[in-house]
Symmetry: C2
Subunit: 343 residues, 2 copies
């Protein structure tokens, strides 16, 4: 029995398998002339699409992928909750992939997702990601994707973000209002858009208060290498310049390890050092002292990103129309920043 496959048809016509497959499915991507040519050859050569493989390809996987840099930050755990609240309603499975802040891992995962394994992708990029070419595979495979929290600045895509510039500004203003003369910004990355926007807010607040900017104001801390102690890195920052009197921690881990560093160095919070942090951690109220926070709407971020993604999967135009959705954060003052002393 001779076997007529799509590959034989492709070789015969000098076209790619993908083109033939799309032509036979009457895709709008293929010209009428090519469709006619393919159909005629398929009929002449007796090609019948393999129903098993075809159903495999046509069938929705009923699965979405969520690509995260990590899960130990409470923000991502909550955002996944918001995503799943929508996915479950739709009868979809949610697969979580972790990149551990590695660009290579992210590339690899996107390639994995592009193969039709999932119907859509929600992603918060790794701190190493500056290139966008790895998203082209998703675009080629017609796999819709939405960025949430961490995006690639300047790259046109659907996005659900937080008001990072404004939050960085008001957090720093708060430190200055509570008496900080030399606050520092501590970040796990100098490339992540989300951290950079917070830092821009920090710098604006300093500038507004006419506090001169110095090199010490910006500090990088490696938060994702198990072999490097985050606490030790923070101790070095605090020991380097004793005039530092405030920290804006751009992520949760930096806040936690700032507390641990202060404990080891016998630095009293907030008397000697005030701390405010971007975090959704539920233990802020039982820290010693309680932690002043900027809280992002993590659950809502996940929910809105998933809503846009399912609109795209359903081939509906999302309401946001590629204008980033920006959700507001909330500042909650606790004891790690000083009570305002009214004159």
């Amino acid at each position: 029995m001779s076997k007529m496959t799509i590959q034989v048809l492709a070789d015969h016509l000098g076209l790619s398998i993908s083109t033939i497959s799309k032509a036979l499915k009457d895709s709008h991507e293929i010209s009428a002339a090519t469709k006619k040519k393919v159909l005629e050859a398929a009929t002449a050569l007796g090609y019948i699409p393999n129903p098993y493989a075809s159903s495999l390809r046509k069938q929705k996987s009923k699965t979405i992928a969520v690509i995260l840099p990590e899960i130990s930050d409470s923000f991502f755990a909550l955002a996944v909750g918001g995503i799943e609240s929508i996915a479950t309603q739709r009868g979809y499975h949610t697969l979580i992939y972790l990149t551990h802040e590695s660009f290579l891992a992210e590339k690899d995962v996107l390639k994995h997702c592009a193969g039709g394994r999932v119907d859509g992708v929600l992603i918060s990029v790794s701190k190493e990601t500056i290139d966008t070419t790895h998203f082209d595979a998703l675009k080629k495979g017609n796999i819709p994707f939405v960025f949430f929290d961490r995006d690639l600045e300047g790259y046109e895509a659907y996005k659900v973000l937080t008001d990072d510039y404004r939050s960085g500004l008001i957090a720093t203003q708060h430190l200055i209002e509570q008496g900080c003369k030399n606050p520092v910004f501590i970040s796990p990355s100098d490339s992540l858009s989300v951290c950079n926007r917070r830092y821009e807010g920090f710098k604006s607040a300093l500038s507004n208060a006419q506090i001169p900017q110095r090199k010490i104001n910006f500090n990088l801390v490696n938060c994702h290498d198990r072999k490097i102690s985050i606490t030790e890195q923070l101790k070095k920052i605090l020991q380097k310049d004793s005039s530092v009197d405030g920290i804006l921690a751009s992520v949760e881990d930096i806040a936690i390890h700032s507390y641990l560093a202060c404990k080891e160095l016998n630095i009293i919070i907030p008397d000697q050092l005030q701390i405010i942090a971007f975090t959704t951690i539920k233990t802020a109220d039982i820290f010693s002292p309680t932690l002043t926070t900027i809280t992002q709407p993590a659950f809502e971020t996940g929910k809105q990103a998933a809503t846009i993604l399912f609109d795209l999967i359903d081939k509906k135009q999302p309401k946001s129309n590629m204008t980033p959705v920006i959700l507001p954060s909330i500042l909650t003052q606790r004891a790690s920043t000083k009570a305002v002393t009214k004159p």
Copy 2:
């Protein structure tokens, strides 16, 4: 062109597609007689296995699934780290599925995994899981699986667990040694083997110290319904009986919300209430007061479970030979239990 498919062959022989597929692959599950019958019919009828579908089935997915009840508990985040440390070495993708403690979700996810989407499964069961039939699909599909942390007691499978009975015993002994007369055990489940073993340890310690057991000693708290406040549930437990002077929190969330409940009720830890908890939380040292913990080797648990799983994927006999691997926990005393007063 007539199409000879495995379905036609199956109908002709009155056998299932799965049997024919296995027979053609010379599987040990199929008798020699059946294999002969299938091979003869396939030759006579001109059946050639569809190479695309066959390669799809044969091809390793290079992916393992990790099925977790939740990710907001630090134990699971760390365990995933341990799993990935092995999977990455092997060039495998790790997919994370969350069941949110739902048996139905777990069943659904296992079905999803059984379809050849993954080469192996690591699972910590949901608190609702008491049935084991949903694991049969994995067994049938020859997908190896290993339980870690939360297993199904009495169900024969590869397992990597912690010494829960012993840990429950020494944690309770610690509370009693520090002066507790009426400690309570607070748990998110009365069916989870891991919690039950801890509770058995708790009961043994009470019995050893000749402390009578009362109904109040065991308390259930719903930890996974977003609509029910965990803090409120704990406040009710503490308000119901003011003689309660110690808590053994069987999971992290109960420890956190016990602190929050005490704060709202103005109960002073450890003077009025001592707390010890099963948790790997990195903030135990900055809680007010610092939290006495029983720490499980979370990373190592994930690592060992993944090592066994890859042995199974490679068709090697794992060293543990279906005897559960039991890893020890560590008690670290901090300020939430009283300093021992030597006479």
